[in-house]
Symmetry: none
Subunit: 253 residues, 2 copies
């Protein structure tokens, strides 16, 4: 197993369990304790976790991962969710809103060949992907670029959204739960996502199982505003049931 994969796995574990033991990690990855110590040191330098005697603990707020360690996380799950979400979209002319996120990006790629489609997005990577396709109409909100997530946010984005109406908004979130509603790591991003949701007739949330039941720093909207949640089988059944009772239809990809 390569270093970057090991780092990803460590981050995944520490964010799920809250605390990890260096000895256990060494055994599990079949590497020496020194290697684990070096890994933890690097991750601590990047403020992705905090070291303790004998292991490490998660930092308070979930952190946005640098690209090199974000790579594989739940990639297949995201692709699965995106494909399922694509099948749920109606045929024929459609105006669609897309927020930023890996899952929405994959969905955008799947939609690239559709005709009669108008896409509104505040995500630069999605726009870059769709700008090549002459068959669909692409509208970007403006705004200030966030380097971590390629999203455009702020008053310019909000103002642009205020003048648009979408039939369906597909929203990628960092957390969704019955109690916390939709949440994300960044409060400005949350505000812009909320602005898009307000202009949409229906809200579809795409989130791989790791996001279900999680609550992050910034709230976007209440769970009742969501029409459909598309997730995968790794989602905790208890949380899924709670969300279902709160209103949204839940589709397991």
């Amino acid at each position: 197993m390569r270093r970057s994969d090991r780092m990803t796995a460590i981050l995944d574990r520490v964010s799920r369990l809250g605390t990890i033991d260096a000895g256990v990690l060494a055994e599990e990855f079949a590497v020496s304790a020194a290697t684990i110590r070096r890994d933890l040191q690097v991750l601590e330098e990047q403020r992705l976790l905090a070291r303790t005697h004998g292991g490490a603990v998660a930092v308070d707020v979930a952190y946005e991962l640098p690209v090199r360690y974000r790579g594989g996380q739940n990639r297949e799950a995201k692709a699965l969710v995106a494909r399922r979400a694509a099948t749920l979209l109606p045929h024929g002319p459609l105006t669609l809103g897309l927020t930023g996120g890996t899952t929405t990006l994959i969905l955008a790629r799947l939609l690239a060949e559709r005709v009669d489609l108008t896409v509104v997005t505040n995500a630069l990577n999605i726009a870059a992907e769709l700008a090549l396709r002459p068959r669909l109409k692409l509208i970007m909100t403006g705004g200030v670029s966030r380097t971590q997530s390629y999203e455009l946010v702020g008053p310019i984005a909000d103002q642009a959204l205020a003048g648009l109406n979408m039939e369906i908004a597909v929203v990628g979130v960092d957390g969704i739960s019955a109690r916390g509603g939709l949440t994300t790591h960044d409060e400005i991003e949350a505000h812009t996502n909320a602005a898009m949701i307000r202009r949409a007739d229906r809200v579809m949330v795409v989130a791989d199982g790791s996001k279900v039941g999680r609550t992050c720093l910034a709230g976007i909207c209440a769970i009742g505003d969501v029409a459909v949640l598309v997730t995968d089988a790794s989602a905790d059944p208890g949380h899924v049931e709670a969300i279902r009772r709160a209103g949204p239809e839940v589709v397991i990809a």
Copy 2:
């Protein structure tokens, strides 16, 4: 198997799995590790993935958009003009507007490492190029995407620009002449470019010699609104002289 096929396969894998191992790829495609490394290097240069030790991980933005319009034409001249234009920009904090165009794109790349820089642009390819640079602030106008030029235009763009002020606007045009002023082939694009010019203290036009003296369909603004024109030695001296008399300083790269 040809190189391009291999590259495509690599991209497909990395986008599905999120992470790949160079050794596995070499074995699977029956080529040497050196070849795989070269492939990965090319793909990384195009920002289609990120290399790690022993392999690569997926990234979420494909930011090298193919050039749609007269890509190769006057390429050296455009690069020359862009480099000269970059030297004319003041040091220190600066708020800069950039319209779409090949020359402005090259200029954007030259500015990528600067600090204390705020860039306002309506060009998707420029934004995609700059989005990853954490040192500079990037603001996009929104708007409807034009597939030919990657520019965002229309009322959303105009509205976004109305709330911004730039010290310098760098404008790429299809034609500039003493009589016709600044012109371009598309009237909607012209309108948005004019909106940006109105919000700028100074206007700098970058245009290779073939544009000088030419007048195109849609007018952007009068020649008197331009502070500086940067062009190259292939520009017709008569037209240059006429422009100089009309007001703008003319710099030959």
